[in-house]
Symmetry: C2
Subunit: 339 residues, 2 copies
Amino acid sequence: MGLDYRIKACPDGLMTDRRHNVKVLDCTIRDGGCCNEWQFEKELVARTFQALRDGGVDYMEIGYQTTDGVYDDAKAGPWRFCREDDLREVADRSNMKLSIMLDWGRATKEMIVPKSETIVDVIRVATYAKDVEGTIDLLEHAQGLGYETFCNVMAVSTCTPQEVDVFLEKLRNSGVPNVALVDSFGAMYPHHVRYLIRKYKNWLRPDQKLGVHMHNNQQTAFANSIVAIEEGADVIDATIHGIGRGAGNCPIELLLMYLDDPRYDVRPILGLIDDYADMRDDLRWGYHLPYVINGWLNLHPKSSIERMSRDDRYDTVRDYYETLTRNRPTPRHHRPPAE
Amino acid sequence: MGLDYRIKACPDGLMTDRRHNVKVLDCTIRDGGCCNEWQFEKELVARTFQALRDGGVDYMEIGYQTTDGVYDDAKAGPWRFCREDDLREVADRSNMKLSIMLDWGRATKEMIVPKSETIVDVIRVATYAKDVEGTIDLLEHAQGLGYETFCNVMAVSTCTPQEVDVFLEKLRNSGVPNVALVDSFGAMYPHHVRYLIRKYKNWLRPDQKLGVHMHNNQQTAFANSIVAIEEGADVIDATIHGIGRGAGNCPIELLLMYLDDPRYDVRPILGLIDDYADMRDDLRWGYHLPYVINGWLNLHPKSSIERMSRDDRYDTVRDYYETLTRNRPTPRHHRPPAE
């Protein structure tokens, strides 16, 4: 193709080399399910599977598996449980790897069937820094059963640099082949991502791959994913139209256009965009100030999701901000009152 | 404040030094007016002026001035004309500089009154690379009348590097004190901005200041503004809730939180967010795929705005994409059909 015709003022042919090794993991159904209790219709999930596969996406994460009794079957949809029968109704073996997520604390070794009995290829466990040891044990067990595995350490923005070193050293000494940097709170700016990706890569073995899962509270999920790619991340999480918990994730269509690689074809995914865009008013992911404020304050999204779910809006955005900042160290930009 | 408490895992105290010289230019009414024909109520514009002033924002761009006959007074609201009486109803002299924009080709020297006869402090002219010479002449005239001036060269993403050099050399040899990098089409990724800011700074004299005006088609307006700040840009354009033509601009609330500087107080602006957020369904700025596609293809936003304004949506997002890409060089990610 020679020079990139899109930006004549900035020839960027030299920027494309390293992108060819990046892999894309779609978690539309898994993380998007946090917005609608995993109640996506099977017909839509089947079309999503086909579109992602036809688009050349590397991984599709189709839901969570959970121990019995944690979620009510009557309330939570099938993608919170990922029973084999449900999976086979909408998906099949293909070049695209099928992934499920387990939550540390709601998962046991007994839940995991041998790889030969399922169409699932990949198991990712979402965990916290303090639980990494147990998580490694669970992931090594899953690997023994034939799965590719990922350790996703959530809420790393609440750890000290020393706490990060501690869990990365444990992962370095483990058999876990993939580790993901997770910005659970949507708190990170690009320079945070750059710092952390370098830290992760310095600790992990060269044969261990690095994933990233960004949240979009401050409209940085896509830009943070670009920084991660620039710094050598291997697997980027994204979702259709950015659907996902709270503000949502990196939109996969932006990512595929950016990668601009013949391995991918964005058109089948664009063919699904209208279906997902139509859900946005109801499910309310995207750019909304309560999410922004929680991200900026490095807070769990819970309170912002609760605020967004209320229709009455008895408090304004400013009230919401004042309530959250009342008992916290004063942000620098709060000027002292004039004398 | 010591270490940034927000991101424990990435101490970033060292990142804050250069931000203290950044200035913020709000263009909510001027660029947001492109969404509603500048029909903002005077009461809202007055409250916006007060909130920006109380928030410590450095510049407020309140609208356009236009030669007679280009816009219909019956259709376009007061902020397309910025008549002195209208301005004085909503604004006043303060520490915040009041700015207006002129469009090259719809502006004459005769329009510009001496600075002493108006509360306007700043004149920015939006122009194209080919018209920079005439624009410099107009801006130098405005400076002679007492104004601070900016030359905003639009659509730079359609220029070759050599064309950029040519107009930057002219600006270097001019009396214009401020030049702005403008991503009119929302086409730029962070590496484009990094490249162009360095190019602009290399050409301009040390006493000339560099502004940036980013569009948010690909959710990069804020991240691109961060890159610009990292590379030494001096003045960042932003709008409340990101309102602006097409996908809109960098949200000012994100920018002020990022800068986290005691010169600014985001709270008065958060107090206005609900007013602007309520317009979003009608005015349809924000993340929508037609804008994404135009940005990625480095196209003028016109066709995407037209597409977004139709309620019938007879074509899908995929159709829209196929139509636009039919007669263009094939994006790399369009794989050849299987044999």
